[in-house]
């Protein structure tokens, strides 16, 4: 037993006594049995709790409907949107978008619909320009990519064919065997 309150039970012991005197040490139990002051403290707590119970009971309405064993469809409270319907709609919309995306995703982005990779657009435009508009003819000529008509003599002059030598292949003489057969 605590000695903090002139030998009386302290708050902890009063609470213990209230919850069950069995948990109190024998000395405290004896004191409680003999001391009217400690008993009054315990009774104050009991009264307060009894009052709480009585008020709670008085200020609680009774049920008005009997219990039935049929599950009723619960109406949505006023002001609350039909949550299930909203969720169902959202799921349907998500499925529709997924299907459209999976099947015709290229349609969405073809011709004016934008591209899937907008960051490569400038590069592809440049490549297309190069394919459609090759280098001017003069430049192509310089790099020998394009033959200009009537230049055979010029080439022959710049790089003549080797002279005919005995025992050399006919091809070396400038005769073209397949030319005879096919021309």
């Amino acid at each position: 037993m605590k000695e903090g309150r002139d030998g009386h039970l302290d708050e902890r012991e009063i609470l213990q006594a209230f919850l069950g005197e069995g948990d109190l040490p024998a000395e405290s139990k004896d004191h409680l049995a003999a001391c009217p002051l400690c008993r009054r403290e315990k009774e104050r707590l009991e009264n307060a709790l009894a009052s709480l119970q009585q008020k709670a009971s008085l200020f609680t309405p009774g049920p008005s409907r009997p219990v039935t064993l049929e599950r009723k469809r619960r109406a949505f409270p006023a002001g609350l949107p039909p949550l299930r319907a909203a969720l169902g709609g959202a799921v349907l919309a998500a499925v529709a978008i997924f299907l459209l995306w999976g099947r015709d995703s290229d349609i969405l982005f073809r011709n004016g619909g934008g591209t899937a990779f907008p960051e490569t657009d400038p590069l592809m435009t440049e490549v297309a320009l190069l394919v459609e508009n090759p280098l001017p003819p003069v430049v192509m000529d310089m790099v020998a990519e394009e033959k200009v008509p009537g230049d055979e003599d010029f080439f022959h002059f710049v790089a003549p064919l080797p002279e005919e030598e005995p025992g050399t292949d006919t091809r070396m003489k400038g005769e073209i065997p397949w030319k005879e057969n096919y021309c």
């Binding site: 069950g20 009774e43 009991e46 009052s51 119970q53 709670a56 008085l58 219990v67 619960r74 609350l80």
Partner: protein, 223 residues
């Protein structure tokens, strides 16, 4: 006043034996037996829900739902004598789910408008107005008090002092040890003693309304 005025468990409407027999019958598919059980415990469960929601409409809906759940699961109840704690366990879980749902809806901004069923109805007779105000004040004070308790302290406190369950039954309902329940109850009581609520409820007996309650309490105790 009697030296030990701890709350006694609420009297069982039909007695323990009757409950156990009805549970046995209901387990074998007897719908009538379950309806009888529901009649016996309906008010107790309704009150239990009301103490936690303080909305008569929610209490009605949840009570109905709790009994439906109990009906669906009664096949799994082995001990008929444990029906009351088993039913309270279902009720506590259902109310917890409901409050969680409500919090989520409120967070999403979908919470239903506050019901006005606690408001003083128009045309209420003059003498009833003070009682209404007293009721309002009581629940506001109670709410203030329980907000200071941890969730477990709150549940244990309400189960013990408002629902009248003993410590062993509370332990069964919450799936805790008796010692754990006692610890939470002790902490709850400690806070109760320190609160203004203690003084208010303690002093309540002296008021006029207190006299009427005491009178009613005495009448209720009569068989």
């Amino acid at each position: 006043m009697a030296p030990n005025r701890q709350p006694e468990p609420a009297p069982r409407p039909g007695g323990g034996h009757e409950t156990a027999d009805l549970v046995l019958e209901a387990r074998q598919g007897g719908q009538g037996a379950f309806v009888r059980l529901a009649e016996m415990y309906r008010e107790e469960i309704y009150r239990m829900v009301y103490y936690r929601t303080r909305s008569p409409m929610d209490a009605e809906d949840l009570t109905q739902d709790i009994f439906l759940r109990a009906f669906e699961r009664i096949g799994g109840l082995r001990d008929g004598d444990a029906f009351r704690s088993w039913l309270f366990r279902i009720a506590v879980n259902r109310v917890t789910d409901f409050q969680r749902q409500k919090r989520v809806l409120s967070w999403l901004g979908l919470a239903p408008r506050k019901r006005e069923d606690e408001a003083l109805p128009e045309g209420t007779a003059e003498p009833e107005a003070p009682l209404y105000l007293e009721k309002k004040e009581f629940w506001e004070n109670f709410q203030k008090f329980v907000k200071r308790l941890s969730p477990m302290e709150r549940e244990v406190f309400i189960l013990r002092f408002l629902d009248h369950l003993d410590i062993a039954a509370i332990a069964r309902v919450l799936g805790k040890k008796d010692s754990t329940v006692k610890t939470h109850l002790y902490r709850g009581l400690e806070k109760f003693r320190r609160e203004e609520a203690f003084m208010e409820f303690g002093a309540f007996q002296a008021t006029r309304a207190g006299e009427s309650i005491t009178k009613q309490g005495t009448e209720e105790e009569k068989p």
